[in-house]
């Protein structure tokens, strides 16, 4: 994985895991690698890997069973909420950028609709 070295590494790894959960690559209740393996797989410091799990646990996205490891939450509501948080994040970044270059609300919406149209055509 390629990192943006100016953004905390633990946040970037969290994002990767959250994305895997939201897209279903990781299912509710799935076991995650040990912090040590996570460090090896991502090429990161083991303390950073441990922090990734601490933060994910604190936000309720993962949970740890003593002696067994860390797992994806089984709480579907939490995963739905994560999905929404992520979508909101993407939209707010998009909106702030599109406003910065001076697009109106109508122009933006029409652009979005056109883009969505062509994307769904490409998929079919």
């Amino acid at each position: 994985m390629k990192y943006d070295n100016a953004i905390p590494i633990y946040l970037q790894v969290i994002r990767v895991i959250e994305r895997d959960i939201v897209t279903g690559r990781l299912a509710p209740g799935d076991k995650l690698p040990s912090a040590r393996d996570l460090a090896l797989v991502h090429g990161i410091n083991p303390n950073t890997a441990a922090r990734v799990y601490r933060e994910l646990e604190q936000s309720g996205v993962c949970f740890t069973r003593r002696g067994l490891g860390t797992f994806v939450t089984e709480d579907e509501g939490r995963i739905r909420a994560l999905h929404e948080e992520m979508a909101d994040d993407i939209v707010s970044r998009f909106v702030s950028e599109i406003m910065e270059i001076g697009m109106t609300r109508e122009e933006t919406i029409s652009l979005l609709e056109k883009r969505i149209e062509s994307c769904s055509k490409a998929e079919n």
Partner: protein, 233 residues
């Protein structure tokens, strides 16, 4: 665990390390950074017990560096230090005689991962192969402290990943790793602390993710500030 207090080394009129005080703890991977001549190698050599301080002290678990600390500290120097006639296998035997914590099994496993064979003569090795051999034999020790001076020198991109993996595999909550490099980017994600040395002095020691979180800077950004134009000269 490893601490230098006002550590100073002079070679004639030249001061290689000037009153450097640092305290390093197990469970961390430290990147020691700075251009050539900033004092990294000399500091490490003193920690490895190869060079005696002119003044100040360097302590391992509270006691001065000596025979006892060498048992726990695996030091890898920049320059190759094997006899010409040795094969990779001989290098392993040599280490096995010297260090009780050396594992021949781990050594062979590391050699294989580095795509080296035991029958290779050290004099026939390219600089990249030599760098890999040095890492393999050093990381085959189950030491408490690893001091790696420029482990990435002369190593191509693909072999670097393998070396980083071996380094990470040897890390642990009771281990201390100190890696010097002028390839700052290579250590960005692997080190949790960065130590900046400049002209024989300690500039600062920072937690890498704190630097990112509080200042929005990468280790390389900070490096440029310290050593580049506009730096505190």
């Amino acid at each position: 665990m490893l601490e230098s207090r006002e550590l100073t080394k002079k070679y004639g009129s030249k001061t290689a390390v000037d009153h450097v005080s640092i305290s390093l703890e197990p469970g961390h991977i430290y990147a020691m950074l700075g251009p050539n001549g900033s004092g990294k190698t000399t500091w490490m050599k003193m920690a490895g017990g190869l060079v005696k301080p002119t003044s100040g002290e360097i302590l391992y678990n509270g006691a001065p560096i000596g025979i006892n600390s060498k048992r726990d500290i695996a030091y890898m120097s920049t320059e190759p230090y094997f006899y010409n006639w040795m094969t990779a296998k001989d290098v392993g035997k040599y280490y096995q005689d010297f260090f009780a914590d050396f594992s021949m099994e781990r050594y062979h496993e590391l050699l294989e991962r580095m795509e080296l064979t035991p029958d290779l003569k050290t004099k026939a090795l390219s600089s990249g192969m030599m760098a890999k051999l040095k890492i393999a034999v050093t990381m085959a020790r189950d030491a408490r402290v690893y001091l790696l001076d420029e482990p990435l020198n002369g190593i191509d991109l693909l072999a670097r990943d393998e070396i980083m993996r071996s380094i990470l595999q040897s890390s642990g909550s009771d281990k201390l790793l100190l890696i010097s490099s002028h390839l700052v980017e290579e250590l960005e994600t692997i080190a949790d602390y960065a130590i900046f040395l400049k002209q024989s002095h300690l500039i600062e020691i920072v937690a890498t993710d704190t630097l990112r979180e509080e200042q929005g800077k990468s280790v390389a950004d900070r490096y440029r500030e310290i050593y580049g134009h506009g730096g505190e000269n």
